[in-house]
Amino acid sequence: MNDLTTELRRMADEAQQSRPPAAAEILQNGDRMRRRTFARRSVAGLSAVAAVAAVAVTVTAMQPGAAEAHPPSAQGTPPPVQPQHRPQHQQRVQLADWTVAMQADGNISLTIRQLGETASLQQTLRADGVPASALIEGQANPCHVYGTSDMPSVVTGFTVAGGSDSAAMIIHPSALPSGVGLQFVASPNFGEPGRSGDLTVRPVEVSSACTGS
């Protein structure tokens, strides 16, 4: 056996015996992904308009005499609006893109359904004591990955709901070493029903550009 370079080249050469899928298949899948991305951006624009309307309704509901409002939790989109005087309409539940809830023991429960609002998610986590960065894959990444990618005591209880609908986890801020934060990176199709989205959580070095501190 020769040196490391030769061994790596041999290993790579063996892997290259496999036949690649047809280019037409890749192009077709890429076109589908592109259409979905554009469609979702359009839907996101409409959702912003709907969110403004929902906030207005919520403010109205909190006027004296209105039904008691539940304490708001940190969410990526406004909480569901429950019409009080329109029983003839079927109630719709609007799920937030993500939900952050501080637990009594200081740990943080995080559920991510989509990661469209990266800025607000990272601000919320930072406010709860987690130096955090969130981005969509392909965006410029100002962070340096921390030395080791495995920090099982920091994020536990990872579960997946609905096959590909959401990911939930418990973050343990006290287990984060000094100078280390968490970065959440989602692929553009993360959270799309029936699609295989990626969500990566990795430790990163704390910096003003990355985690804001």
Partner: protein, 173 residues
């Protein structure tokens, strides 16, 4: 980049990138899947790929992120078994190769990635640092430590003395 150009680029680079990802991950099926998905994303975002002017590096980085996402494996463990483009049967590797792959798996993913980028992809230390988003000093340390971890195995199999192992230009211990 139009369809024809992309198809040509894909045909020219797919196998090479699978080889590189296989060396990084030690898992051929995962490497093929990750590279395939990275090419799909590249075509979906072709405007950005054109601007970056480094499509192969972009795909390698994306494929690495895909392959290294442990959550993705949790989410799609079943799906990976039903790929639309199943890999063609490949002749079994030699015992030496099996042992080498096992040795590679024993070092950290970051060290493996640095070694592959430096030795197989012929990148400089600075380029490895840029592609992995780490400092040059960290790359040097990963290269040195990864090499040190593999050196006994390489020396033993090759019948060389430990003193025959290579050093890296400016490498740090």
């Amino acid at each position: 980049m139009d369809r024809e150009e992309f198809a040509s680029f894909y045909a020219a680079a797919f196998r090479r990138l699978v080889g590189q990802l296989y060396a990084m991950t030690g898992d051929l099926a995962e490497a093929q899947d990750a590279v395939q998905e990275a090419f799909t994303r590249a075509w979906a975002r072709r405007g950005k790929i054109d601007r970056k002017q480094a499509p192969e590096a972009w795909i390698r980085v994306t494929a690495w992120r895909i392959a290294s996402s442990r959550w993705r494996r949790a989410r799609n463990g079943d799906r990976l078994m039903a790929l639309t483009a199943a890999p063609e049967h490949v002749a079994g590797p030699s015992p030496d190769r099996v042992a080498f792959v096992e040795a590679l798996r024993r070092i950290s993913p970051e060290q493996r990635r640095a070694l592959v980028l430096y030795h197989l992809c012929d990148l400089t230390v600075d380029q490895v640092a840029a592609e992995t988003g780490t400092r040059v000093s960290a790359v040097k340390a990963r290269l040195a430590r990864g090499r040190a971890a593999l050196a006994p195995y390489l020396s033993e199999t090759a019948g060389h003395s430990p003193s025959s192992k290579q050093n890296y230009p400016g490498g740090a211990q």
